[in-house]
């Protein structure tokens, strides 16, 4: 177990030629953290994760993983890391069980009891060919293979994509256990709501650049939330616009959509003075949620 950070990148860059994948990323992830890499599609999340595993080579900068150089010590790094690629693909003709058996042999030293417990936990389908499985069922197999050797570091590219809510819950509880054991997780996502409950810290990427790194707690304080409130009768949105933290409020018929930073308390209290039929939280784009960071630089 190394004393320093589990992941440390220095000026890590990837220029694909046609477009910048990642620009001079300096990032540290500490032991026992569940760290989220957040950014819209094309932000450079997969690029960063693939660089850590030497699947692609950086055009500048370097990365250390588990205290090892990501390129020259890649074999050892890959032996100690569990990886779930984004857009997971498996051998279409093999069954789920066949795929897991292959990866078990390729990995070596896997405790089959741990693997089988994961299969049960995620209710993974083993007896059908991969090509017949839904994306969610394939993703479960991807998660099993990533966790089955109980690695000290997990690198998961969009792990929640395609999982139904029940499986998401199993995944979240698994993450909590992993963190409690002092193991480290780096995962990516393009939606805040997917990761805000499971991560300790977040890095927000945009166009290959790091926008901000902070605790989820602090980021939520400045995140713009959006609530759709359906009233029994039309309500003037100006009532909400005047409130502290409110960024925007608009009404369509009897439904008001309010965007605000920080606490929902003032908005809810004003809404409560009317008859509220329904309240629906809206999943915004990251650009809308982190207006504060995105509006300053215009690229």
């Amino acid at each position: 177990m190394q004393a320093g950070p589990v992941i440390a990148t220095r000026g890590l860059s990837k220029d694909y030629g046609s477009g910048r994948g990642l620009v001079e990323l300096d990032l540290e992830v500490g032991q026992g953290e569940v760290f989220g890499l957040l950014g819209p599609n094309g932000a450079g999340k997969s690029t960063m994760l693939r660089l850590l595993l030497d699947l692609i080579k950086p055009t500048a900068g370097s990365a250390r993983v588990l205290g090892l150089d990501s390129i020259s010590d890649s074999l050892e790094v890959r032996g100690r890391v569990g990886f779930l690629p984004g857009d997971l693909a498996l051998y279409p003709k093999l069954t789920g069980g066949g795929v897991l058996e292959y990866f078990t042999q390729l990995r070596g030293g896997v405790d089959r009891r741990v693997r089988d417990a994961l299969v049960e936990r995620f209710d993974a389908v083993l007896d059908r060919p991969i090509r017949q499985l839904s994306a969610g069922n394939r993703q479960k197999l991807g998660l099993v293979q990533a966790f089955m050797h109980e690695p000290e570091l997990l690198i998961l590219d969009e792990p929640i994509a395609g999982l139904d809510p029940l499986v998401q819950r199993s995944f979240h509880s698994l993450l909590s256990e992993v963190r409690a054991q002092g193991r480290t997780v780096l995962l990516s996502s393009h939606t805040l709501s997917e990761v805000e409950r499971v991560t300790d810290r977040l890095a927000i990427l945009r166009n290959g650049r790091l926008v901000v790194v902070d605790s989820v707690e602090n980021l939520r304080r400045v995140a713009v939330q959006r609530l759709e409130i359906e009233f029994a009768a039309p309500v003037d949105p100006a009532e909400f616009r005047a409130l502290p933290g409110v960024v925007d409020a608009a009404a369509v018929d009897a439904t008001v959509t309010v965007s605000f930073e920080g606490s929902a308390d003032p908005v809810v209290k004003v809404a409560a003075s009317h008859y509220v039929r329904a309240v629906r939280p809206q999943d915004g784009d990251l650009e809308d949620i982190f207006l504060r960071y995105y509006r300053t630089d215009t690229t």
């Binding site: 693939r50 080579k57 990886f83 690629p85 070596g108 991807g142």
Partner: protein
């Protein structure tokens, strides 16, 4: 080498390999059975020399000529080339394009070992086809009434196997260097067909006769294994080409980015 990689690659190639092998044996038996009926009359046809060369000398009148023209020059190398090329491209660049290697290579396995393990599986495919040709020829020649010794049949199968290995290695190298399945398949197939054309036509044009030496096909059948047995120098050339191509494949895949 990695045993699970070789095993899985071979397992995925086995259905097409086995049906090709069975098909080869059946066709060669049929070709042999046909000889007594048509061989003598076809032998009297006057085929233009260029066409004759394409068909392996145009000497249909003997069992050796019959099999040389039907099997040795066209059918067997076509099948072994097609399976080696498609198998090699699918197992390497195909898996890369399908994003499967993005996970496999996150496992603790060197890219060089992965490529060698996959090459071993393709070599097994090649050997199965060469064995099928050997069995098919024995069967076919027997049905034709005999005329080629088992030693000469073995010679053809051995030359063919080395030819298949070299063609497969070419496809692996192209796939390893580019990660593009259709490019690897297309270029390797183009090289094989061009080699066949060169081998057939170069002898006719004296200024181009040196060209035959650049054709892999020449080292397979240029010395006519069905009548003259194994040609060791040809096997050495094919073996060296295979070895060299694999060395290039290993170097080029270690250096580049995984595509998908």
């Amino acid at each position: 080498m990695s045993r699970p990689v070789t095993q899985l690659t071979l397992r995925l190639r086995l259905p097409s390999t086995m049906s090709a092998a069975v098909g080869l044996i059946a066709v060669m038996a049929a070709v042999g059975a046909l000889f007594p009926a048509v061989g003598h009359s076809i032998g009297k046809l006057h085929v233009p020399k260029s066409v004759g060369n394409l068909l392996g000398g145009g000497d249909y009148g003997t069992v050796t000529g019959w099999f040389r023209s039907e099997i040795a020059i066209i059918y067997a190398p076509l099948v072994i080339g097609a399976l080696a090329i498609t198998g090699a491209s699918a197992a390497t660049a195909g898996e890369e394009e399908d994003r499967i290697l993005a996970l496999v290579l996150a496992y603790p396995i060197r890219r060089s070992r992965l490529i060698i393990a996959k090459a071993a599986a393709i070599a097994a495919v090649v050997l199965i086809i060469a064995l099928a040709v050997w069995i098919g020829l024995i069967l076919g020649v027997a049905l034709a009434g005999g005329g080629i010794t088992i030693w000469h049949i073995t010679a053809l199968a051995v030359q063919l196997a080395f030819f298949g290995l070299a063609i497969g290695a070419l496809a692996i190298t192209l796939a390893a260097a580019t990660g593009r399945r259709s490019l690897a398949t297309g270029v390797a197939a183009g090289v094989a067909v061009l080699g066949w054309l060169i081998n057939s036509f170069a002898p006719l044009v004296s200024v181009l006769s040196w060209l035959k030496y650049v054709s892999l096909f020449y080292y397979y059948t240029g010395h006519d294994p069905l009548t003259r047995g194994i040609d060791l120098p040809s096997l050495v050339v094919l073996g060296l080409v295979t070895f060299l191509l694999m060395a290039i494949a290993i170097r080029s895949i270690e250096r580049r980015d995984l595509r998908a």
